[in-house]
Symmetry: C2
Subunit: 217 residues, 2 copies
């Protein structure tokens, strides 16, 4: 549902007020610069310049730079969370759902390499209130949806009994490490880097190992 | 082999020169403070105070703070790399070796939670020369040893054919994410945190999924 709301807001801006189009432009600029420069450490001036906006608007819209980073994280994750929550409800086997979920996670990290780093960085630096907000809005819904798919599979005899908490970390780690450690692809393994063909090989590899790893005999 | 060298050096210090005992004390202080404060961002003054040494010695022994962090990483990883290189040579099935390797990785991250973060942080900030040093001395030997165990298992018909490069990231990620994201254990999953009993459950869980995931039918 969330991406549709974003879409509506964007269309409304084009037609009119300009208020949230500057807000959107700031978020988009921050995300683009993080992706291009491969770091979360982007100055407000650079973000404002890219967005063709005054950097004082950051304070106006988001309260602080951290508030802007949180809004960016929420914006980037909204689609992914809506997707997995939808996946829980569709009429398919748990094995098929888990396959789509794992591929979706890898695709998310492939397209938005900074989201996981941003999530951890915000959690490390944030107040207890912001931590709770991130947990409640982002980590919990994703973990909960994944747990439901796992339980569907266990109940249907497709999966062996697996601890859903530990499994959450297994899946996120197995899908994310190649992006976190992508420097090593070239430096250690003579790969070209995070190419489209590597993304496809990695989806096949990861879904095969995890789905075989939890398959009921 | 590496830990034995460290041991010898330490014994010599007790007997005599004091030179490398201050060096060792600085490394130990840096590692302890990172573990205690759960951040890599420790000032030279704090490290020197903990080591009861003059902070100018950092420059003297390591050239720079970054040089000291590299020495710390090498020191912490030496034992783990010697272990997996030894594991390749022992007389055991590839399945047994892989089980010991996975448990060893989890134990390393459990005891030295900052090593992986330190590795990535140094690689991100470092010169091409330092990057190459870290790749050659730490990542390559570990990846190479893991590849040999995988190939032994494929040749013996214990494992299905698996891409060793992709598998490297699968294993490191699956073992490491729970430590990188340990905040979520309490905030999202109502676990107590990274306890000894969780460590054991996590070793059983991870070895079961990965070994089943690559097992030849």
């Amino acid at each position: 549902m969330a991406p549709r709301v974003e879409g509506k807001r964007k269309r409304a801006d084009v037609a009119g007020s300009g208020r949230s189009s500057a807000r959107e432009a700031l978020l988009e600029a921050a995300g683009d610069l993080m992706a291009e420069r491969k770091t979360l450490d982007i100055s407000l001036n650079d973000i404002a310049a890219r967005a063709k906006a005054n950097s004082a608007l950051v304070k106006y819209y988001f309260g602080s730079k951290q508030g802007m980073l949180l809004a960016l994280l929420q914006r980037e994750m909204a689609g992914a969370i809506a997707q997995i929550e939808h996946l829980v409800e569709v009429n398919a086997t748990a094995t098929e759902k888990m396959r789509v979920h794992i591929a979706g996670l890898i695709n998310l990290y492939y397209r938005k390499r900074f989201v996981n780093e941003l999530l951890f960085s915000l959690l490390r630096q944030s107040t207890p209130e912001m931590s709770k907000l991130i947990s409640d809005q982002i980590v919990k819904p994703a973990a909960e949806a994944q747990r439901k798919i796992l339980e569907q599979g266990i109940a249907a005899g497709e999966f062996i009994p697996v601890d859903p908490t530990l499994f959450y970390f297994t899946v996120v780690g197995a899908c994310h490490q190649i992006f976190a450690g992508s420097f090593a692809l070239q430096a250690v393994f003579d790969e070209e880097g995070l190419t489209e063909s590597l993304r496809r090989r990695f989806i096949d590899h990861t879904t095969a190992i995890i789905l075989t790893g939890i398959k009921a005999p």
